[in-house]
């Protein structure tokens, strides 16, 4: 299978990602959607490190990495240069959640406000994985990370996930979407749509990390699906600030998602923390209500 694929994909096999890496799948899928006429700007993080150990690269489109926090600014310059030269390549940022939610906000805000024609894709594995699973602004409530560890007097990360899509929509981005690697066709369609929408577009793709979240490598797609099915992650599209499309589900209890990941283990062992699980259920309920994801049974 691997041999069959090699040489056909724009994101080449043989890179150094962990088996079952969600972000690696995101890279493969998004390049399937962009095709060859694209330039990728990366941020420092897992994907950059596992895909470009000098002198090897997994990228068969032009690719550039500068720093952790400046991809949107580098992309601004590339876009301006291409415009000057009359070239047609599409410019994409492909960056982690740490680079996007936290340290890169200044550059992203500037690039979106200026209205560059770029597509910014955040692969969201909900923590700083490259440096050893530290919390980010994208880490969900109660997840245990190495800087938000669960302990005798803590249940893990004490803040809810930052609403980055809303922040970028508020910049006037014409197209903002969330996606999941567990729904590849949907993700690729959204990438295409973003590329074909003039102006700065944002896609946040849920990309489960088996190493950081603590699940078996073969479970990546299932975990991504469960996030959607429990309302812990909502797939939607926003056009000019309005939600125009939402993936509806028959919702399962959040426990089905939480109990399969070591980052939430402290909610179940050594004893069950019903109050905390209820708080997380309430977050999912709010998501469901806000976006109207519940498929209602006919009375």
């Amino acid at each position: 299978m691997a041999e069959h694929v090699a040489g056909c994909e724009l994101f080449e096999s043989g890179h150094r990602a962990c088996g079952g890496c969600g972000p690696a799948l995101a890279a493969r899928l998004l390049l399937n959607a962009t095709g060859e006429n694209a330039i990728v700007v990366a941020s420092t993080g897992c994907m950059e490190v596992f895909s470009t150990p000098y002198p090897e690269t997994a990228w068969k489109v032009p690719w550039i990495h500068s720093l952790f926090e400046n991809a949107a600014a580098v992309a601004s310059g590339i876009e301006a240069s291409l415009k000057r030269q009359g070239r047609s390549e599409k410019v994409l940022c492909v960056c982690g959640d740490g680079a996007t939610f936290d340290i890169g906000v200044l550059c992203i805000s500037g690039a979106f406000e200026r209205g560059h024609d770029i597509t910014y894709i955040c692969y969201d594995n909900e923590a700083y994985m490259n440096t050893g699973i530290q919390r980010s602004g994208a880490t969900p409530y109660d997840a245990s990370t190495t800087t938000s560890p669960a302990g005798a007097c803590s249940t893990g990360n004490q803040r809810p996930k930052k609403d980055m899509p809303a922040i970028l929509a508020a910049h006037g981005a014409p197209y903002v979407a969330t996606a999941s690697i567990s729904y590849p066709q949907d993700f690729m369609k959204k990438v295409e749509k973003a590329l074909n929408t003039p102006g700065p577009c944002y896609i946040q793709v849920h990309a489960p990390c088996c190493t950081g979240w603590g699940f078996e490598a073969g479970e990546t797609l299932n975990i991504g699906k469960l996030a959607i099915e429990t309302g812990m992650w909502v797939n939607f599209e926003m056009e000019n600030g309005e939600v125009t499309k939402v993936k509806k589900v028959k919702r399962k209890p959040v426990e089905e998602y939480l109990s399969r990941q070591k980052r939430f283990r402290h909610l179940f062992k050594p004893q069950r923390r019903d109050a905390e699980i209820a708080k997380i259920q309430a977050i999912a309920d709010r998501n469901a209500e806000k976006y109207g994801i519940d498929i209602k049974k006919k009375e």
């Binding site: 470009t52 990495h65 600014a73 301006a80 406000e113």
Partner: protein, 384 residues
């Protein structure tokens, strides 16, 4: 054409004639007049470039990096706090071998906040892999931009370059400047031909990560490029002399050094004051001269050593301080002349815009005569 112009406007004008395709900059005193002038030129179709009004200096240089990597000649300008904010990007640009030219309108660094001139900002980036040119007057500031692009973009060099000139003292001063025409600049500076660029027709990866098996070789190549740049600077300076009649073929300019006993070493606008003071002291029979450093990076070790042969004492004027060690230039000159028998005395001077007059230069000669140096000169002891 000779014109009376403000330093900032002369620099903006020459930046325009160098035909950058992308300009990204963020306003900061005393650089603002440059970026305002460039914006005017774009607004009036005098400059055919993308002008990116970034939200910070950090993004200014990052955008320049992207544009350069995509194959455009780029321009930026900053100073002080702005340059400090670019610190991380500066190292990155050099490591990625992007020949970006940036004007540095030298200003001190806070705290305490000061908008006035010294050279602490660019000196603090001395290890970043950028060529550093320092201008004595606005003519030199203008000319060095053309030379900087030519040297930076040379495929034997491929290093970014600062063109440094002193804030207010030069940037806000009206002086006569012989401004070349667009045709003359075009004749000197060819169109940008990137060594490689981001291009979907020929995809490459830039800015990859290197394990210990490769990292050191990248740094070694950078250092080699710095060393190679010495000859390229001399050549570019000689070509400039041929076309424009002003000679920048030397990295060090010697002023009345023959038979000098005491030699000053200085960079930037202070050299004008030093030269005038030297003339007066020479008239009074004092054998003093000046070695003006035009390129601080690469450091002109060979030329400087040659220029100083025969002097007994060197007085270095440092408009900066490497806190805990001494002036940055003085420290390097001491290392360079170790074992030569020449006495090197360092003077930290003119920090944060403190004025320097001819009589100060004469006073330093008196101190040097007595062997007194390695000190802050001109302190107001009453406020200590």
């Amino acid at each position: 054409m000779l014109q009376i112009t403000e330093g900032s406007h002369a620099v903006a004008e020459i930046a325009k004639f160098c035909r950058p395709q992308v300009v990204a900059a963020y306003p900061i005193t005393p650089q603002t007049h440059i970026v305002e002038a460039l914006a005017d030129m774009v607004a009036n179709c005098e400059l055919d470039a993308e002008y990116i009004t970034v939200e910070s200096e950090f993004s200014a240089l990052s955008a320049c990096l992207g544009a350069s990597a995509a194959g455009s000649r780029v321009y930026s300008a900053t100073t002080s706090q702005g340059l400090a904010l670019m610190f991380e990007v500066c190292f990155n640009v050099a490591g990625m071998r992007q020949p970006i030219v940036m004007s540095i309108v030298n200003r001190s660094l806070g705290a305490p906040l000061s908008i006035w001139n010294d050279q602490q900002d660019s000196i603090s980036l001395r290890d970043s892999g950028w060529l550093q040119f320092y201008a004595e007057d606005n003519q030199e500031a203008t000319d060095l931009h053309m030379i900087a692009y030519k040297v930076a973009e040379d495929h034997d060099v491929l290093l970014p370059a600062f063109v440094c000139f002193d804030g207010f003292i030069l940037s806000h001063t009206y002086e006569p400047v012989d401004m070349p025409s667009q045709e003359e600049v075009d004749a000197y500076l060819p169109a940008f031909t990137p060594y490689h660029r981001l291009d979907a027709k020929d995809p490459i990866s830039m800015g990859m990560y290197a394990t210990p098996d490769y990292y050191m070789e990248f740094r070694y190549e950078l250092e080699r490029a710095m060393q190679r740049s010495i000859d390229v600077i001399k050549r570019a300076g000689a070509e400039f002399a041929e076309q424009f009649g002003r000679d920048y073929s030397a990295l060090v300019e010697s002023y009345r050094l023959d038979d000098a006993e005491i030699a000053f070493i200085a960079m930037g606008s202070i050299c004008g004051t030093v030269k005038d003071a030297i003339d007066e002291m020479r008239d009074a029979g004092k054998k003093v001269g000046l070695a003006k450093i035009r390129t601080y990076r690469p450091f002109p070790t060979e030329e400087l050593t040659r220029a100083l042969a025969g002097v007994s004492t060197v007085a270095v004027l440092d408009k900066n301080i490497s806190l805990g060690s001494g002036g940055a230039v003085g420290t390097e000159v001491k290392a360079m002349l170790a074992g030569s028998g020449i006495t090197v005395l360092d003077y930290i001077i003119a920090l944060g815009g403190r004025d320097v007059r001819k009589r100060d230069i004469a006073a330093i000669v008196d101190l040097a005569d007595k062997g007194v140096g390695d000190m802050f000169y001109g302190l107001r002891t009453e406020v200590l």
